[in-house]
């Protein structure tokens, strides 16, 4: 009995030890990046498969594990819990999850923005104003709901005028087939599929709010400060891959075909999705965007949206609880609680060929 008790206490202690293992201070040599399937993030697995990741990691004497996570929300949670050092994520989700969860994150690459990839689709109706009173199927608290919010504001409506039904993205296409569904807000490649239906009409998309839904590569800020080489390797990998996949050369087409296959479509489908994605293929473009005045304005809209939906923490008294820092060191929100930083340093180093 006593022996058993000792055994079970030991096992429990071991479990506790694993869960609570604090960050180690020893110099870190190996890093993990998590990615999920999305047109703007497919370059990561391709770079890993084609030796680009290894090449840059070797250059800085580190190793980088590029890990696919099947579920986007789960990848964010895993990153926030500390299982990954870097993550592909949108600007809105960075603020809502890691930043609110006290995990200070730095965006070192602004990869693209959605330029039509996210859309509001009505069934059998053709005008956005017709949306009033309809049930709307979308993934609640995702960029879809943000897009809906922005769309409704253009026709002087609010979320109170519609009924939001949380629907899993993996079931959106099947859900559209049922008669209960009158309107959906979703993203590509689902948008592409739905618009093939004669009843589906796109009444609003993210190209009408350009630059507001961004896809970033974020790195844990503490990890970044101790290991700037990790970030240098990441931007090196990214822009080498951008170069490899852009243009009409056979090599670029073959790279895009690989990425298309890995994301479950073909070259034509992938190029279609790229058309509704403003991909920053050069570091210069990305730096210009990151340094522009539009970025703080966008982040203000995003955090106000999150605050209204109580996503800045249930006890947040104002949208200022979390601080967002921009490259010129101005801070939106609480400067004492900066948890989300846009950093253009590393993209600039590539632009100026200083790696």
């Amino acid at each position: 009995m006593l022996k058993k008790l000792v055994t079970s206490v030991t096992i429990l202690a071991l479990i506790v030890g694993c869960v609570s293992a604090p960050a180690q201070a020893a110099p870190k040599k190996s890093f993990k990046l998590a990615w999920t399937i999305y047109v703007g993030w497919m370059p990561w697995p391709w770079a890993a498969d084609h030796g680009i990741v290894k090449k840059w990691a070797d250059k800085y004497g580190i190793s980088i594990d590029v890990v696919q996570v099947n579920d986007y929300a789960e990848s964010i949670n895993q990153y926030t819990a500390g299982a990954f050092d870097a993550l592909t994520i949108t600007n809105m989700d960075t603020l809502a999850v890691p930043a609110v969860g006290g995990v200070d994150s730095t965006s070192i690459i602004v990869g693209d923005f959605s330029n039509g990839n996210d859309a509001v689709i009505l069934k059998d109706k053709t005008k956005l104003a017709d949306i009033k009173g309809l049930p709307i199927n979308l993934v609640q608290y995702s960029v879809s709901q943000y897009l809906l919010d922005r769309a409704l504001s253009t026709v002087k409506l609010t979320e109170r005028d519609v009924r939001v039904i949380n629907t899993s993205d993996s079931d959106m296409a099947a859900a559209y087939q049922t008669s209960d569904v009158k309107a959906v807000v979703t993203w590509n490649p689902i948008v592409q599929d739905l618009l093939k239906e004669p009843s589906a009409h796109k009444v609003f998309d993210s190209s009408q709010i350009p630059g507001e839904i961004m896809d970033l590569l974020i790195v844990n800020t503490a990890t970044l400060k101790e290991n700037p080489n990790f970030a240098k390797a990441l931007v090196g990998i990214w822009y080498e891959t951008m170069q490899a996949m852009s243009g009409d050369s056979e090599a670029a087409k073959s790279a895009r075909t690989d990425m298309a296959k890995a994301s479950g479509t073909d070259l034509a489908g992938f190029d279609d999705q790229l058309r509704t994605t403003k991909l920053f293929t050069t570091p210069a473009e990305a730096v210009t965007f990151t340094d522009s005045d539009a970025l703080p304005k966008t982040m203000r809209l995003v955090r106000d949206f999150l605050f209204q939906h109580q996503l800045l923490g249930e006890n947040a008294k104002s949208p200022d609880v979390v601080g967002v820092e921009f490259p010129n060191e101005t801070v939106l929100g609480n400067p004492k609680n900066v948890k989300f930083r846009f950093d253009d340093t590393f993209m600039k180093q590539v632009r100026d060929s200083k790696l």
Partner: protein
Amino acid sequence: MRILNRQPDSVTRLLLPMLPFVLILAAYGFASSARLAVNPDDKLLPNLASLADAVHRFAFMADRRTGDYLMLNDTLASLTRLLSGLAISTLIAGVFGIAIGMIPYLRSLLASVLAAISLIPPLAILPIIFIVAGLGEASKITLIVIGTAPFLLRDLAMRVQELPSEEIIKAQTLGGSTWQIALRVVVPQMLPRLLDAVRLSLGSAWLFLISAEAIAAESGLGYRIFLVRRYFAMDVILPYVAWITFLAFMLDYLLRVVQRSALPWFALGRGR
């Protein structure tokens, strides 16, 4: 003395069951404070105070936007779905299970097809359920029925066949028709066994309920968990999980009480 013969005394018998719970709580508290020491905003293992705060917000405060008590709303929505699904399954099992168990022609006709149907993983045919039953309440209840009815039905049919054939023959020599034997001999003996089977299928009923609510819903315990998971609110998820466990336990307990008080002879026959 061999350990298999040692009986805990009455005090130990009271305290021993609590020990694992205390250990789990202690382990949780320890791990939580270790993580919170590193990051005070950590979301993975919130401390007991923030768990209590989340319970307070969700159970005892009206939601700022809708004015509803969210946990109450979610619980009612989920229980309605769960109990409707289980009631339909039990009814189907009661009627068809007894008929199939009693009538060889029906058994020969349906037993194989039911065995086949019961092996279809219900979640695999979700898109079909959507198209047939829509996205609303019907599809959620359908999923629970598809998930639990075949098991209940097959179990009951087998229990009917286990009845001693002497009983059936005796009833016939007394002049009973098929209908009378069903009502007077088979049904009374099957009711407690059906309750047993329902208790055993509670676990899968909850599983299918939560899965259904994860897919498309506006309320429900599973809906809330999957919704707040998007922003990693473990302070909400953990109390909800505890609440679901408690509700499931209570349902199981209630069914046992019903069985014991309405059909006491069955519990007696089991020796307790």
